[in-house]
């Protein structure tokens, strides 16, 4: 069978287009917008999360982190030499004082001080990581997700210096040997790039909830902040919530319901 030049170019072009589209979809999933595009849109989508820590125990957190890290091929680098230097994590926990260092109070109920809180990327409205990235490898999608293209990242780690929440991890070593069970439906990362929680655009595109939300037994509420009738807006308008480091003006999209009276008992 012979193919002429025209035909060849046609096929080659379509193949190239297909490859680039599939790679792009794999990583980005949603329409990308590298520039600011800030504040709540009156219509459309602005994704956010409310976390009701009253309902979450350490066992829940372990399950949640495991679900996230397994589905996203996050390497398990912690046990190695008992060294957290090279650690990669998308969602993890810490104490109240470490989570809300601006709101420390020696007289908080002991139950609150002993409680652990889940930490993840805040998907800020004014994200410093996007502002400092020199290649637009990390950018803000129209729906407010802060996503990244690991193939464009040069590994300068300016975003890690810029993020005030410690949400970003760098692949100091090749992550692939440390992935306990590889999920073939999600890309692995290479050495030398930064990664973090993405709010699961690949799952949302399939009509699923983010991996952590799915296994949270209703304690994590994910939805559209721009829709005043959404469940998350309903939760936020009926509960007192905290955001991490609000004075920095980054405007996080992750809200914590910490309760109050519940701890006093």
């Amino acid at each position: 069978m012979s193919i002429n030049r025209r035909k060849f170019l046609k096929i080659a072009g379509l193949t190239g287009l297909g490859l680039s589209l599939s790679a792009r979809d794999f990583i980005l999933m949603s329409p990308a917008e590298a520039s600011g595009g800030h504040s709540l849109p009156s219509s459309g989508e602005r994704l956010g999360m409310a976390i009701d820590v009253r309902k979450l125990t350490d066992a829940d957190y372990a399950r949640i982190a495991d679900a996230c890290h397994t589905v996203h091929n996050v390497p398990t680098l912690i046990p190695e030499k008992n060294n957290v230097k090279n650690e990669v994590k998308w969602i993890w926990t810490d104490t109240y004082n470490h989570t809300f260092p601006e709101q420390i109070n020696d007289y908080h109920p002991e139950a609150l001080r002993n409680k652990t809180f889940p930490l993840l990327c805040n998907h800020c409205d004014k994200p410093p990581c996007v502002r400092v990235c020199p290649t637009k490898a990390t950018f803000r999608a129209k729906n407010g997700m802060i996503v990244q293209d690991p193939h464009r990242c040069i590994g300068c780690r300016f975003c890690m210096a810029g993020c005030p929440y410690g949400s970003r991890s760098f692949n100091w070593v090749d992550p692939r040997p440390y992935i306990p069970k590889r999920n073939p439906d999600f890309p692995t990362r290479t050495i030398g790039v930064v990664e973090k929680c993405t709010f699961c655009p690949e799952r949302l595109a399939r009509g699923q909830q983010p991996a952590c939300v799915e296994v949270s037994n209703g304690a994590m509420i994910f939805g559209n902040l721009a829709d005043s009738h959404s469940e998350i807006r309903n939760i936020l308008s009926t509960h007192f919530t905290l955001r991490r480091k609000p004075t920095l003006g980054t405007m996080p999209s992750v809200f914590y319901i910490i309760g109050g009276e519940d701890y006093a008992g």
Partner: protein, 390 residues
């Protein structure tokens, strides 16, 4: 003119071989890092920039300091700097070369470094830093080489080079201002989030760079026929004195703001650097050495009686250089990361591999400098103008 670098005495070639060997060792160490990742360094999730970026920051200052010779010579017609301006310009070339190499060895994906140009992102300060550094390198190569070439031909420099020289003055300020903006615009890192950062960078640059220049000029006088002259060296000494005073003053301003306001975030990094936090204090001895050296250097520099003696001046310059290297080439970057965003302490210390790579980059810089200085001095030896009349 470059052929002059190929004819030298025993001392010259020994120096070249020593520097090339260190550069070679650094290259091998870099290949190891390239294959195994930045995990071979002491950097971590919490202290995500280390030795490389702090060396880069320090050397931008050394590069910018050329302007301290260019301004008096070209703007104020201070003829006495005629013999040493070229030393400043070539020092800038070598320093910017090192800056770029330090950025390169710090990249997680160095093969993608051109993404900075392919996807230009004006909202990132790193984009502007790359732009101004490349421009400054270009300016100094062109200016240094053209003026030296004109000198060789015993002709005045071509008229087109004058505007470039004037341009290089604000450009020198820009490279260090933009480098300060890398740090000073980041929310949540209180140690860096200070409006005086760029001014402080410039002050330390104009002390550290000229101090190195004095050291280099006196080394050249010892080992070559070059003589910078007594008066020009004393004049540079005065520049070092004023700039070092300004630098120390600026640091004390930071200390006042942090501790009088009593805002924890502003105090923590200082506490970590100078007394340690919860038993973590790897940098404490170094930082105190920096302080002590700074104080002694000022005692030696400020009274003209002491400074006017060249043997004192050079000692003071060595102290200034070491003090500023510790302060900016180590403490400033690491201090910004400690304590981390959760209020806990992860310490940093460079590994052996990291140290060898760092030494390798310095060796490449000094190799460049040696070759450029060799060319400059050989040209003047031929002309018989190697000695300053001042």
């Amino acid at each position: 003119m470059l052929d002059k670098a190929l004819h030298g005495g025993k001392t010259y070639w020994t120096l070249i071989i020593v520097l090339a060997s260190i550069a070679g060792a650094g290259t091998l160490a870099y290949l190891y890092q390239f294959n195994n990742g930045l995990g071979v360094t002491g950097m971590s999730r919490d202290v995500s920039w280390g030795f490389y970026i702090s060396q880069f920051t320090f050397l931008v200052g050394v590069a910018a300091s050329a302007v301290m010779l260019v301004i008096p010579y070209y703007l104020h017609d201070y003829k006495k700097f005629g013999k040493i301006v070229i030393l400043g310009e070539f020092l800038a070339v070598a320093s910017v070369t090192m800056c770029m190499l330090f950025i390169f060895v710090d990249m997680g994906q160095p093969m993608r470094i051109l993404n900075v140009i392919l996807h230009p992102t004006p909202n990132s300060i790193l984009f502007w830093d790359a732009t101004v550094l490349n421009g400054y390198l270009f300016l100094n190569i062109v200016i240094g080489w053209t003026t030296l070439h004109a000198e060789k031909k015993q002709a005045p420099p071509p008229s087109w080079v004058k505007p470039l020289i004037y341009l290089s003055i604000p450009w020198a300020v820009s490279i260090h201002t933009v480098t300060a903006f890398l740090y000073a615009g980041i929310p949540g890192r209180h140690f860096w989030l200070t409006a005086i950062m760029a001014a402080r960078f410039l002050a330390s640059a104009f002390a550290g760079g000229p101090a190195l220049l004095i050291i280099l000029a006196l080394i050249l006088r010892k080992y070559t026929k070059f003589d910078p002259g007594r008066e020009p060296i004393q004049a540079v000494g005065k520049i070092v004195t004023y700039a070092m005073c300004a630098n120390v003053f600026f640091i004390l301003l930071e200390v006042f703001t942090a501790f009088y306001s009593n805002i924890p975030g502003h105090m923590h990094s200082f506490e970590y650097l100078f007394v340690g936090i919860e038993g973590h204090g790897k940098l404490v001895p170094l930082m105190w050495i920096s302080v002590i050296f700074a104080v002694i250097s000022l005692i030696m520099l400020i009274p003209p009686k002491i400074r006017n003696k060249e043997s004192n001046l050079i000692k003071a310059c060595v102290l200034v250089f070491i003090s500023l290297w510790i302060d900016k080439g180590f403490g400033l970057v690491i201090g910004g990361f400690v304590p981390n965003h959760f209020g806990t302490v992860t310490e940093y210390w460079p590994t052996l591999i990291e140290t060898v790579i760092t030494l390798g980059v310095w060796a490449i810089g000094f190799l460049t400098l040696t070759i450029l200085y060799k060319v400059a001095i050989s040209v003047r030896e031929e002309l018989g103008t190697v000695k300053s009349e001042y």
